[in-house]
Symmetry: C2
Subunit: 360 residues, 2 copies
């Protein structure tokens, strides 16, 4: 059996109360005694039983998520997963005692986001997770929260200058490079123009993807020229207009990299065009639209990040920060998923059969 506080007390020759004081860093222990207790902890390999501790404290971890509103399918999928983590009945094991709440603010609206952050911190939550917009007022808000002892994790789009505790999302520079590498190999030998459609360059993830992509394409060196980046504001209608003009006016278009949202518009433009379609199309995030486009061959590769993983990871990490505990960075690393027609995951499953123990 694992050692308990009682074993520590016996081993150190002190009382339970003193062990408790040391373990919870309470005052009123001579440093000599403290050392004795810590030595006993070492010797016996004591590890606090977090479940029992939380039970005793009847501690719950209030965690606030702040996501952009709007019809971006990826953000809505993320929202769905956040809600699932917040639902005790649907919550998978290991995410006990969290109370998740969720706020949406208009996308790309830095003042609104900063205000929402400050408001979210008002009732001392255990942690805040936010899809960041890169702006000074947002960074300031994050710093304010941290100064008040509230850990903050950024999701999807980072804000390193704010000193946030953690970023749950992919390495967007690497994602851009990957897109570039795929594009280069898919176009091996051919010459032509390559277009990039972004959402907004005020989103750090979009900027980083662009940088990585440009870098990989430059290394390629072959006859591929990168066209000036287009900004579609993640809006399907605007993206569709941009893509249509691109297809009409750029006869030597060899590839398109869409690194933001609004791919519905891009797919529509590709499906309707009478011009020859570009040889390689790479987009981001798996949705019903991009999945179908991949199956139909309108899109050649989808780079993605798993919104379920992001939601669960953010909760785990924020809880670890709130308790000053360790977490496993390898487990929390969000992978860059590459989907081709051949490795599309099955469409969306429900939970496994709930043979709940309430029956007989």
């Amino acid at each position: 059996m694992r050692p308990t506080v009682h074993d520590i007390a016996a081993e150190a020759g002190v009382s339970l109360a003193t062990v408790d004081r040391v373990l919870n860093a309470r005052a009123g222990v001579r440093s000599e005694t403290r050392l004795r207790v810590q030595a006993a902890v070492e010797r016996l390999g004591y590890v606090r039983d977090v479940a029992a501790a939380n039970l005793a404290k009847s501690r719950i971890y209030p965690i606030r998520f702040i996501l952009p509103s709007g019809d971006n399918p990826f953000m809505r999928a993320l929202e769905a997963h956040v809600r699932q983590v917040g639902n005790p009945a649907l919550r998978p094991g290991g995410l006990e005692r969290v109370a998740v709440s969720l706020d949406c603010v208009p996308p790309l609206d830095a003042p609104a986001l900063a205000a929402a952050l400050i408001k979210a911190g008002e009732d001392e939550p255990a942690g805040i997770a936010v899809v960041a917009v890169e702006a000074p007022e947002v960074a300031a808000a994050v710093r304010t929260l941290q100064a008040r002892g509230i850990p903050v994790a950024t999701l999807v789009s980072d804000l390193p200058a704010s000193g946030r505790n953690h970023f749950a999302g992919i390495d967007n520079m690497a994602a851009g490079r990957t897109a570039g590498g795929l594009m280069r190999r898919f176009l091996s030998g051919s010459r032509g123009a390559v277009a990039v459609i972004a959402g907004s360059l005020s989103l750090r993830d979009h900027r980083e993807r662009l940088d990585g992509f440009a870098q990989a394409l430059r290394e390629a060196g072959e006859g591929l020229t990168l066209l000036p980046v287009l900004e579609g504001e993640d809006d399907p209608a605007k993206v569709e207009a941009l893509a249509k003009r691109l297809l009409a006016e750029q006869p030597d278009l060899a590839g398109i990299y869409s690194l933001g949202a609004g791919d519905r518009g891009l797919v529509r433009a590709l499906a309707q065009t009478k011009m020859p379609r570009p040889q390689a199309v790479v987009v981001h995030e798996l949705s019903d639209h991009t999945r179908q486009a991949l199956e139909e061959g309108l899109v050649d590769a989808v780079l993605a990040q798993d919104p379920g993983h992001i939601a669960r990871s953010a909760v785990r990490v924020l809880r670890a920060f709130a308790d000053g505990l360790v977490f496993d960075p390898a487990q929390e690393r969000i992978r860059i998923d590459i989907f081709l027609k051949d490795n599309l995951p099955p469409a969306r499953q429900a939970l496994s059969d709930p043979h709940l123990p309430t029956g007989e």
Copy 2:
């Protein structure tokens, strides 16, 4: 606050003892009363506090892993992750109260594996996880365990005929197809021979990858001919010999797909050959060797599955089965990771800074 058993008792107008009898499916409750209690559970949305329940039962989940011995780097990485999950100090949150034990048996030895399975089941563990070899005696052993109420999960290589409760690993058919799709795109236009090096076709994962690969290549239709499959028994020396002969005797070799282990041998052969190297090389599993080969351009893509995810997922799922609880299939789906030079993850990290609360 979440409702507790006390709330259920009050709501249903019965005593705590009766609620306990219903919740734990114990005998001695009139069905009318049982229904009243269940209705109260429904109404209040009661969810059992598993942490408190396990504390009360002082339940631990003994989980046994059976892995192949030998120097296969992927299996050794899997072993390392299994040991980490078994270590209370290193274990990431959410995997509480498990006692992991680990046995290794010689690879590809079905009788030894079957014997190890039966032995592992002797002291009634909460679950068994095993890398399966496809053989009747292994399937029979798994069925025996299940008949005794012990849930079994297969890892990496499946054994569906055994009726195992769960498979923690990738969809190997899809992995083979993905390799084929990548190969086809990487070789777009060119003609030539494509070689496949497997470990052993008595491993189901290898057979499935081969099937998927052949299928994708056939669909391609272009001038690519698939050479007869080679079996290297996952042994670097044998793989090296096979690859050297291949490179020497097959002048029109356009691609190599290595779907088993022993890639160290393949990389050596590629590095040393004086013949022109094949245009596309795809291998499985990320190790120091394959990582370096990818960086040096000897290998073009690595398909992989995350051993850490597999180890953690197996424990979560087996625990859920042991308790008859739900789990989230999406969370437990093992992804097919595609690594290119551009999206290699950072080399191997330690746990996050352990600001343990034992200090002051």
